[in-house]
C-alpha cells in the first residue's frame, strides 16, 4: 500500500533491542490518516523508541514499520513527508528563530518559511532573538513551527508539552490542532500524561511494558470498556462476554474493569461507564505484566 490509501502509520510486531534489553516489543499498531493520536504510556514504555523508528532515525531489530506506506529511512522522499520534533526541542541555542528558518530553507526541498513567520508573529514570539533567551513555551512553538514548515503529512512529536506550564501547554496544543485542521496532516503526539492530550486527540495508542495494550479511536475505546461491581466472587466465575483488565477484590465486593466482547452482561453486576484516564491506568497498572491477550485494534462499535 502507498499513497493516498496507506495508513498514516502501521507497524507489525515491531521490536527494538538495545543490548539485552527490549525497549519495544511486539508492537503492532495501525492509525488511519487524518487523526491526532495520543501515544501514551509510562516512562520507559517505548514511546520515544517507536517515534524514532517511525521518523527513520532508528532501525527496528524485528518487525516492520511503514509511514504513509513507505519504510522509514534517510531518503529524501521519505523525509519530505514527515515532521519530527524530538524530546526537549533540540534547537541551536545561540541562533534565532529566523536563523533556523533560513537554515531550514537550505536543508529541505519543501520549505514554507512565510507560514512559519506568520505563525510566530501571531504568537508574538520574537524571531530575531537567540532561542536560548525565549521561554520554554516559546521554544516549543518555534520547534513546532519549524516542523510544520516542511508541510509534512505526518507529524511526530515526542513529549512536546512535558516541560510547559499549563497556559503554554494549552497554547501549544491549540497551535497543533489548528495545523491539523488546516490540511492533510496526521499527528502522533506522545505524553506520559493522558490528561494533557485528551482534549485534542481522537485516537489512542497505549504502550505499557514495552507492548501495545490498546490502539483505536477514543470513542470506540470508551464504548468498549465498563466497570462492573458486585458481591465478591472468583474472577474465574465472573462470567462471560468480557475480558478482565483490572480486578479489585475486597472482603465483600469484586470490582472489575473490563473490555466488552458482547453487549449483554450478567445483571448481578452493577455496570457503569468508565473514563479514559481510569481505562489507561488499568492497563498501565504496576502489577500488570501483560495484557490478558495481546490486544488488537479496537474496531468500530458493533
Amino acid at each position: 500500500m502507498s499513497g493516498q490509501n496507506a495508513p498514516a502509520i502501521q507497524t507489525t510486531r515491531l521490536g527494538k533491542r538495545y543490548g539485552s534489553v527490549w525497549a519495544l516489543q511486539d508492537c503492532s499498531v495501525s492509525v488511519p490518516r487524518g487523526h491526532v493520536s495520543a501515544l501514551v504510556g509510562p516512562n520507559g514504555a517505548g514511546k520515544t523508541t517507536l517515534l524514532k523508528i517511525l521518523a527513520g532515525l532508528s532501525a527496528p531489530s524485528t518487525g516492520e514499520a511503514a509511514v504513509l506506506g513507505r519504510v522509514p529511512g534517510q531518503t529524501g522522499d521519505f523525509l519530505d513527508s514527515i515532521g519530527y520534533l524530538a524530546q526537549d526541542v533540540p534547537l541551536y541555542k545561540r541562533l534565532s528563530a529566523e536563523d533556523h528558518l533560513r537554515l531550514g530553507a537550505h536543508l529541505n526541498r519543501r520549505w514554507d518559511a512565510s507560514a512559519a513567520r506568520g505563525r510566530l508573529a501571531a504568537l508574538r514570539i520574537p524571531a530575531d532573538r537567540p532561542v536560548a533567551t525565549l521561554s520554554g513555551g516559546q521554544r516549543a512553538q518555534v520547534g513546532l513551527s519549524l516542523a510544520l514548515a516542511k508541510r509534512p503529512h505526518v507529524l511526530l512529536l515526542d513529549e512536546p508539552v512535558a516541560a510547559l506550564d499549563p497556559l503554554a501547554r494549552r497554547e501549544f496544543l491549540a497551535s497543533l490542532t489548528e495545523a491539523a485542521a488546516d490540511g492533510d496532516l496526521s499527528v502522533i503526539v506522545s505524553s506520559h500524561l493522558l490528561h494533557d492530550l485528551e482534549r485534542v486527540c481522537d485516537y489512542l495508542i497505549l504502550l505499557a511494558a514495552s507492548r501495545t495494550q490498546l490502539c483505536g479511536g477514543i470513542d470506540d475505546v470508551l464504548a468498549a470498556h465498563r466497570v462492573m461491581v458486585g458481591p465478591r466472587r472468583d474472577i474465574a466465575d465472573a462470567g462471560r462476554g468480557f475480558t478482565v483488565i483490572k480486578s479489585t477484590q475486597t472482603t465483600r465486593q469484586t470490582r472489575l474493569l473490563v473490555r466488552l466482547d458482547r453487549a449483554v452482561l450478567d445483571p448481578s453486576w452493577a455496570v457503569t461507564e468508565v473514563g479514559l484516564e481510569d481505562i489507561v491506568l488499568a492497563y498501565m497498572g504496576e502489577r500488570s505484566t501483560l495484557a490478558a491477550s495481546p490486544l488488537t485494534v479496537i474496531g468500530p462499535a458493533r
Binding site: S247, Q249, G275, D278
Partner: protein
C-alpha cells in the same frame, strides 16, 4: 490483568469527569453496595484512611460522605471502632432486583434476536413506562 486485593469490605472508584462531586460519588457507591446486598447491616465500612489510600482523595471528602450517610440513617459511626451499616436504603431486597434484572436481560435478548436495536428498545421501554403511568392515573 492487574489484580488488587484489599482487606476492607468494599472499594471505591471516583470519576473526575462525571460532574458528580466526589463525596456524593462515595455516598452513591455505599448505597449501591447496600442495595445490592454487597454490604449487610452490621458490616464495617472502610476507614477514612483506607478510602484515602485507595482513591487519593482529601480525608474531609470521605468524612463528609460518611456524615451524609449517617444523616440519612444508613450508617453509624462508633467512637474509636469505625463506621457500620445499620439500615438498607428503601426498595425491594437484592434478590427481587436480581430476579427482575434477569427477566429483563432475557427479554432484551429476545428483542435483539428479533432485530431491535438499542434505540428501539429504549423507546419501547419509555413508551411502556409512560403507558403504565397513564393507567395508574386512570
Amino acid at each position: 490483568m492487574t489484580i488488587e486485593v484489599l482487606k476492607q469490605s468494599i472499594s471505591f472508584q471516583l470519576s473526575p469527569d462525571s460532574g458528580v462531586p466526589a463525596y456524593l460519588q462515595l455516598v452513591q457507591q455505599v448505597k449501591q453496595a447496600l442495595r445490592m446486598g454487597i454490604l449487610d447491616v452490621g458490616d464495617k465500612l472502610p476507614t477514612v484512611k483506607e478510602v484515602v489510600a485507595e482513591v487519593a482523595v482529601n480525608p474531609n471528602t470521605v468524612m463528609k460522605a460518611y456524615w451524609q450517610l449517617e444523616h440519612e440513617g444508613l450508617v453509624e459511626g462508633r467512637q474509636g471502632v469505625g463506621t457500620f451499616a445499620v439500615r438498607r436504603p428503601a426498595g425491594p431486597p437484592p434478590g427481587t432486583q436480581l430476579r427482575l434484572a434477569r427477566r429483563l436481560e432475557a427479554w432484551v435478548g429476545t428483542a435483539r434476536d428479533a432485530g431491535l436495536d438499542d434505540e428501539a428498545i429504549e423507546s419501547m421501554l419509555r413508551a411502556t413506562l409512560s403507558g403504565a403511568r397513564a393507567e395508574n392515573i386512570a
